[in-house]
Amino acid sequence: MTGRVAGQVDASPPGAAGRAASRALVARYSTLAALVMLILFNVAYTNHFVSVQTLNVNLTQVATIVIVGVGMTLVIATAGIDLSVGSLMAIAGALAPIIFLGKVVPIGEVHVAVAAAMILSVAVAGALGWFNGWLITRFSIQPIIATLVLFIAGRGIAQVMTNGNLQPFKLDAFQWIGLGRWLGIPAQVVVMAAMVAAAAWTLRRSLFGRQILAVGGNERAARLSGVPVARVKHWVYGISGLCSGIAGLVVIAINSSSDANLVGLGMELDAIAAVAVGGTLLSGGRATIVGTLIGALFIQLVRYTLLANGIPDDVSKLVKAALIVAAVWLQGQGRG
């Protein structure tokens, strides 16, 4: 910052630029700063906060939101939205046990059965995401409506598949994805980290990533400059479907059961909130995967902090609502 006094009338370019830059800086790092402050607050006031257990609890709880949020970030980067993620989680979560419990085709070897279940259920979720992309590009339907179709029908499909019944199971060969550990780190946290890293690299460094941002920034311009807009959109919705499928598997593995009525319920809103708080523009063209991770961690830690200090979950909803609005408002200031 320059040393100018606030009351100065002539806003010469360097001072204005400095202010604009500092506002952009505030906008960019406000969520991260808030996260750091929240952590410091907890270190000071919450008992037993600095422990591996606390870290693991928070990370395992946030993992599914981040996994879905990765796909959602890519979708929102193209100026779209995906409301179907929760329902796709339910479909993947309903399909996997049907396969590995051998309800349709009995499979003798347990590892083969589990591998088939995981691959097929995630692939089905991905294919349904691809279907979203097809609706959006082929018929020029708005993303919010196109994905509303599967939001409504998808959970119904999962419920019809299981007849609404709970599918309990106990199968270590499958449940590692929700309960296992790798070098002491919960497996879904490893999955989450790998997906965040892969998506962040894709968005920043790869041609596909540039194309995503180009489509979100200005679709017409992207089309005119030769970006395969339809293909890019198919892929982002397909990827969002794949991410939802994986998250669905994690959730049922943690619960040791699959309940089509509950798996992924309300996930679309959690994921969108994480993306928005993380600093991705909902109007497309600017996106940050790491921001989504920070946004999800921030929302999770707010909830944890309130709970750990004896404040009921209902109040934390109110606080969460205020924080989402505040975070998005702050980011808007940077562009003012």
Partner: protein, 321 residues
């Protein structure tokens, strides 16, 4: 040319035609489908969704969206239940006032802080359902049965369920406001082109604020009906109402980018989606097939899919000509 206008009429009246066909189908196929009991049950239950969808219709016509309607209805039902010992009027006013507050907060944040309606109302949904749970102490709140509050949801006037009368009145008012007042024309103008409306000197901010307030108030009213109909304020009810309402509005032919819309077609959309469940029940009653209740969301989804594809084909055709 004549054929093109026929298709346009079909598109505009499609939901009405589908509704009439579905009713005819039910009337011919099932005994008692048009019996007084069934009609009154369907109207009583769906009037809550009709109220919510009416507010949503206005919001969507301005090009916005309101995701908070379900949470607001839950909050309205809890507040109404808490006020119900003081009489029907107190319960109703309390529930509607709670909804108006949520709507005013939405409108303020969207108009003054310029945050996207999607995010604002998403946050409002969290806040409203949190407030509902907090007020209710995490359980449903029984309404007072002495004060006559339950008549509002369970009683009849001239054989018509009171909730249906309330909803019908709301739609008449909504239709008048949309078609005969300058506020209504401004709603459509904003949805058509907000910048142009602003340049023309229309009170864009005020009307946008008002549609969110109206949506909140109608959701609160739906909550009042919910509480009196089921005898309890239900803080966890209302999940997914927003998307059901959006689906009804879209099936009714209101375009999501705003600027075009019809109040009557929205009501037809609500009844169409509501009757699917009813027809499913009757079909199961015949015993030929047995489809679980879960099929209703699948069928609703397919309906929505069909309508949006049809609409997009027609708009593409319009743009081509």
């Amino acid at each position: 040319m004549r054929q093109a206008s026929l298709i346009a009429v079909l598109a505009r009246q499609g939901v009405l035609i589908a509704l009439v066909l579905l009713i005819l189908f039910g009337w011919l196929r099932y005994d008692n489908f048009l019996g007084p009991f069934n009609i009154s049950t369907v109207l009583r239950y769906n009037s809550m969704f009709a109220l919510v969808a009416l507010g949503m219709c206005f919001v969507i016509m301005t090009g916005g969206i309101d995701l908070s309607v379900g949470g607001t209805a839950a909050l309205g039902s809890v507040v109404a239940a808490l006020f119900s010992p003081y009489g029907t009027l107190a319960g109703t006013v309390g529930g509607v006032a709670a909804g108006l507050c949520v709507g005013a907060a939405n409108g303020f944040v969207i108009v003054r802080l310029r945050i996207l309606p999607f995010i604002t109302t998403l946050a409002a949904m969290l806040a409203a359902s949190g407030a509902a749970l907090l007020l209710a102490g995490d359980q449903s709140v029984s309404v007072s049965y002495e004060s006559g509050f339950t008549d509002l949801g369970q009683g009849d006037v001239l054989g018509i369920p009171i909730p249906a009368v309330i909803a019908a009145a709301a739609y008449v008012v909504g239709s008048i406001v949309l078609n005969l007042t300058s506020t209504g024309r401004t709603v459509l103008a904003i949805g058509g082109n907000e910048d142009a409306s602003r340049l023309m000197g229309l009170p864009v901010d005020r009307v946008k604020f008002l549609v969110y307030v109206a949506s909140g108030g109608l959701s609160g009213l739906a909550g009042v009906v919910l509480a009196s109909q089921f005898g309890a304020g239900q803080p966890v009810e209302g999940v997914g109402w927003e998307l059901f309402a959006i689906a009804s509005v879209v099936v009714g032919g209101t375009v999501l980018t705003g600027g075009i819309g019809s109040v009557g077609a929205t009501l037809a959309g609500v009844l169409l989606l509501g009757l699917i469940f009813n027809v499913l029940n009757f079909e199961n009653g015949l015993g030929w097939i047995s489809l679980s209740a879960y099929w209703q969301s699948v069928i609703r989804g397919i309906f929505l899919l069909f309508v949006v594809i049809l609409q997009s084909r027609l708009t593409l055709r319009d743009e081509a000509t």
